[in-house]
Amino acid sequence: MKKLIYALLALFIQQFPISAQQRDVRTTTTKIADLLALQPSETTARFRDAMAQMERFTAADISALLKQLSPPGEGDNAGIEYAANSYSYHVLLPGKATQRATYIQGAIEALNAISNKDNKGFVIQLLQNAGDDSAVDALSPYLTDEYLSEKAARALSRIGTERAGAALLQVLGGSTGVAAVNITDALGFMAYAPAEQAILTKANTTDTILRRISLYALSQIGGAASQSILADAAKSARYVYDPTEATAAYINYLHKRIANGEAVPAGKAALKLFKETDEDSQVHTHIAALGLLTELNKEKQVNVLLKASRDGNPVYRNAALGLLSPYLNGTVSTKLVKRLSKVDEQIQVDILRYVANHKQTEALPEVQKALSASTPSVRIAAVNALHQLDAEAADEALIVLLSGSDEQTRQAVKQALLTSKNKQLAQLLTNALTNERNADVQILLIDVLGQRGAGESMQTLLDIIGSDASNEVKSAAFSALPQVARPGDLNKLLDLFVNANNEYKGAIQAAAVSAVALSDDREAQTQLVISRLRAADATRRLFFFPILSGIGGKEALQIVNEYTADGNPELRAAATSALANWTGGEALPQLIELSRKKVTDSEQLDAVINGLIRLVSIADIPADQKVLYLRDAFEAAETVDQKKSVLRALEASKTYNALMFAGKLLDDEQLKSTAANTVMNIALDNKNFYGADVTRLLNRVIELLSGSESSYLREAIQKHLNELPKGPGYVSLFNGKDLEGWKGLVADPIKRTAMDAKTLAEAQIKADEIMRGGWSAQNGELQFNGHGDNIATVKQYGDFEMLVDWKLAKEGKDGDAGIYLRGTPQVQIWDTSRVEVGAQVGSGGLYNNQVHESKPLKVADNPLGEWNTFRIRMIGDRVTVYLNGELVTDSVVLENYWDRSLPIFPREQIELQAHGTHVSYRDIYIRELPRKEVFTLPEEEKREGFKVLFDGTNMDAWISNTDAYGISDEGTLAVVPAEGSGGNLYTKEEFSDFVYRFEFRLTPGANNGIGIRAPLDGDAAYVGMEIQVLDDGAEMYKDIEEYQHHGSVYGVIPAKQGYLKPVGEWNEEEIYIKGNKIRVTLNGTVIVDGDLAEASKNGTLDHKQHPGLARTSGHIAFLGHGSEVHFRNIRVKRL
């Protein structure tokens, strides 16, 4: 199945004229199937492609597409709905008038032909999107249909033309009930003036609904004839809200009339409305009337507005002020504030706020007067107004005001100072503070200085601290220190310690931290703090801990950590708190250590756990390492809350280990809901975490979810599960309970392979016994006690990804172990302190390599007694290792230790090495990776003279006009049309008579084709020949012609149907062509056996020209069609 679109598009680009020959010759069915294959389009390119395809649709094609709609709930309409709806927007783009006309015509044809009313409704909605005058006649009949009238009326009103209005008006008279309401509603929406009389005759109905919608429509139209009925209706509603909304309609109507330029009658009516709405309950209508009058009279309304702005009703007053805004000027604002102090307090407040918001500087004199008003609310309003109006000068005046003011006014001044843009503010405040004697004002000034980070006030603050000021004032000064401290202040601050009360020490410490943080030489400043600490009495030393904690860094850490083991319990406790509050991630190992000491004080443990969580979240370390820390923290946690916090923190590090760890807690009564969230958030973010374990965990999460979002979340998880790859994914190699899946080691791979079955079986029995002596499952860990030989997987592995956690004993001597990959040593594990054997390079290197690198790139080991995580990836002979998230071995060849003349074995077992020392393992997971199998010709085909065109490694035999063809990870020739529709891929060489063999795998609805004897351009189905490749069992192909089924010589010779394997399985196919004889064999069955000349002598089945049938030679091609298909093992023999 092939189309001309691409050739056509290419021609457009080259600006060739389009001739009749190049018309889209596809059948309607084909066009629709092609289009639906692109729906919904994932990418913009594909979307454009789909829209370009629809532009080639005739009205009949559009209609045929829409007629395929099933009644709601009875079939799959999605593809049609995507296409038809998107295209209804597309045709309104500039320059698409022709396409729009065609689309509307097609939609109308469908509307008439479809009988299901909901499907009709969908088509009407399309016409609401895209329709114009040409749709009016088709829509009109539905106006009186009870079910569809609302849709038809809306479509017509949205079309909004004279003709649409006339159509609505024509049926209005005879309509009743729902239809009358819908039609009137639509006429109102489009404000169709000729309908005024007809609506007027309906408007006096006693039917509330029809009356309301009629009054609304009349108001939208705004005709003179409606004046009395609308006015009367509003009046009889007493100008307030009623079910007919007559008042709202009347107000709307008067606005319309003003807009129509009918100022005089509108003004008269508005004035009457204004006068008749003086009751409190009518205030909102009164405001609307005032608005109408203002709209009409503009400046002439100002005096009325000024009067209204002093009205006792705050709603009315503030609305009037709002209406006044466009007419504000110096004169108006002076009038506004004139004799302000005479009016009610709340009115003064509103007006002051108003002139400030509108920057009316002419009001300043009155504002300044108001600063000394007797009521606090007015004073506060005046302070705010002064601040807003007189930004430059206000601060000084406001500071002066502080001394004599009440507390509320002071707070207003404070707010103004905090938001002041005055660059001299810090100096002003400092000066004021120096001279201020009122303690409350001093405190306020200090607070503002602190918040504004005024470094210049430091000395003044120190002076106050050293003075005989009250405790409250001193306390404020201390509190401001951290914000104003500068690097030069460190010594002065540390001096303050000597005499300071305990309650101020926190502020001094914080100030010292700030001083160091701002310094250019933090190291020297840190040393200064450390030296002061050492010089201090033992009892005073603890005061320095929080400073060091705030500064952070390795040196500070070392000092504080020493004190966590001090003999003095007070110092120990202080050091522990300091560590828990540490600034940088460097304290994590120390915190872990602390957490394990079983801090007896539960509050301290809480602080330590929270400190761990906080530092893990901010530390710049790999996710694998974060997960190790958090698992340690979980181990140390005692309360449910602590455990929950750790679980929540875990979700930020989205590793497989974290997922599995949280997964184990899904059955913990107290933790399961927290665990469920963690599992969900990690899993949903990782499409490469799949397999039976992941599926099991997510299904469990679905059961556990509750709350308002849960219905969405369940859907999201289900969708995620459906989209996951179907392979086994990571599989656990160790069940935590026993040694299932493991066996003892028998000799080396070479010797083992040489053994006969009986010898091997006997040796295996002995080896298993040795294994059980040295290896055991304990506490969920796989432990080696130091005695015996390697433990090996029962299964053999080729290419894989492996996760394994390991731990060397803390007190162990000469710790050493390793992971044998494919039976071969090894990814090294050792105690990095063993300098004598070179272990300082760290673990994770390929220790036994002689030619290729054997050392790791860096040391990433955790200390002895701590867990480590390996992520090992082996592809072919190359190994990549991450240790605790750090890359330590980067795609290095693993040499064959057992016979260095050989490459590494393609498949072998994995072993954990026994090296005489105690080792623990946990969380061993492996994911097998599909290996690219390189195709080689079977001997028989080699003899027959077949030649390989694609073996899974390269595309050397091909020329492509598209990026859509590539080699997949598994080594198939894949058409993955992420962008665009695919296009064609041709052999470099030409072939005339040949046997072509290949395998292919389809995806649902997939469509491709094999071009033969094809030229490099044009549509191969016609200018060459096309052997169809199609998932012809798919629903969307149910109506195709027999010559379009899989295997057919497209349009010429139909194939036998029913020999394709299920979608997703590999099919084998052979195409034999010699002269005019053609034979297609699918999975061993001949499905085409014909003669091209015979088949076309009386014209072809599809009644199209097929000049390609006469060709004797050409390229073999894959004819792309926008869907994913895989091919492999492609070979050809010339005949």
């Binding site: 919904p40 913009t44 007629k67 709609l69 009644p71 009875e74 079939g75 799959d76 309409n77 999605a78 709905e81 995507y82 709806n85 209804s88 927007y89 309104l92 783009l93 500039p94 479809i114 009988s115 299901n116 909901d118 409704g121 999107n129 895209a130 079910y147 009238s149 609302e150 849709k151 809306r154 009930g177 729902v178 309401v181 819908n182 509603d185 929406f189 509330t208 609904i209 809200y241 079910p243 409190d280 205030v283 909102h284 405001i287 009703n313 705050p314 709603v315 609305a319 709340q346 509103d350 706020r353 938001t419 810090a426 504004r452 980070g453 943080a517 219905s711 969405y712 859907e715 999201a716």
Partner: protein
Amino acid sequence: MPSEKGDENAGSIRPLKTNYSLMKEKNTSRREFIKRAAIGAAAFSIVPRFVLGGQGYLAPSDHLTKGIIGVGGMGRGHFAYAGTKTVAICDVDTRHLALAMKQLSDNSVKQFSDFRELIQLPEVDIVHIATPPHWHGLMAAETARMGKDIWCEKPMTRTIGEGKRVVEAVKQHGNIFRLNTWFRFEDNFYGMNVPVKRIKKLVDSGMLGWPLKVTISKHTGFDWKFYWVGHENLPVEEVPKELDYDMWLGPAPYKPYSTHRVHTTFRGYWDYDGGGLGDMGQHYIDPVQYFLNKDNESPISVEVDAPQQHSDAVGTWRRITYTYADGCQIVLDGEGRDVGMPYIEGPDGKLFRGFKSDIPDLERKLAAFPDPEPQVTDFVDAVKTRKKFALNEQNGYRSCTIVNMGLTALRLGRSLKFDPQTQLFIDDEAANRLIDQPMRGPWAL
């Protein structure tokens, strides 16, 4: 063939329960209801403001009385806002009403199924609109005409046109309007983990330079909730007897009932909302509009990169980029493409998730700059003293317009240009048809 089965199907079409007859019934009983209301009022421990001193007057110590329209999950969460007391509730699902009454445990609270009865109650000061968004515009405008003050859940309106109508109605009648997202003045702002005031202070300080680009993505701490999507090919189901589906739909086009359309999953359908962008968008975008000082303007363009969208069900998207006339940009990154992206990027500095910056010692430098001007953040105070609330119909309309520009571009599958003055799309009739969408009769706005 589907079309041939049409006649058989005609019988299975759920008859449109006409608004017409429904509303007539309601209205004849309204007089009685008002009578009841008057009697009920005597039992109130709280004296409504109209009794005290005319409408709009309220002694400072008094609670404001409120009526809540829509007491599903959202509405039921708002019974106890400080300074207010719930006196009436309304829902089209009697199950919601029952749950709400149980939660309120106050039998004097009045229950309604038609919001127009609730907004007419004399004893209600504030009307709280907590329905799905397709009702917001209509209810807000009618409440404004009734003379009540309004608390409306986000997003403000489902279309740009409805937003304009609400602004007009509130202006016309002098109401106080609060749009309910609060991050511009309260709480820590998602992944930034600081109040927006701090971000605003930084932007105002000029330390980042100008223009700014703001990226809202999972890497800057915002979840676009892509699981809020709709389904295609919904099954046709029986309407539950407790639900007045016709009234639930209201102005939205009639479509056969399916459980997934309503209640907790309505956000996945264009007719009622716009997925994660529709529902979370204003939470995330409004503060950006505020700290960029764009409360009185709109972007001039919106670019989308997304999979094709369905006619009914909302789908996901990859990237939506808004550009203002001065070059400022707001980027919504749906698939987290930009790992390590700053939240705000300016020519002179960057701000990352968690208020981290590449400007050394930012906090200290920032202290010397002025705080942003205070905002009116107490709704009760705003109502009592007639101050415009911090997030009101005007700036709320603007930030909702940003959301609606994105949704429009998404539905159309193309980038759009916008005129902030006329508030219309430029040279795109299809987009402009979505600005003003006619409503199903008998509703009009």
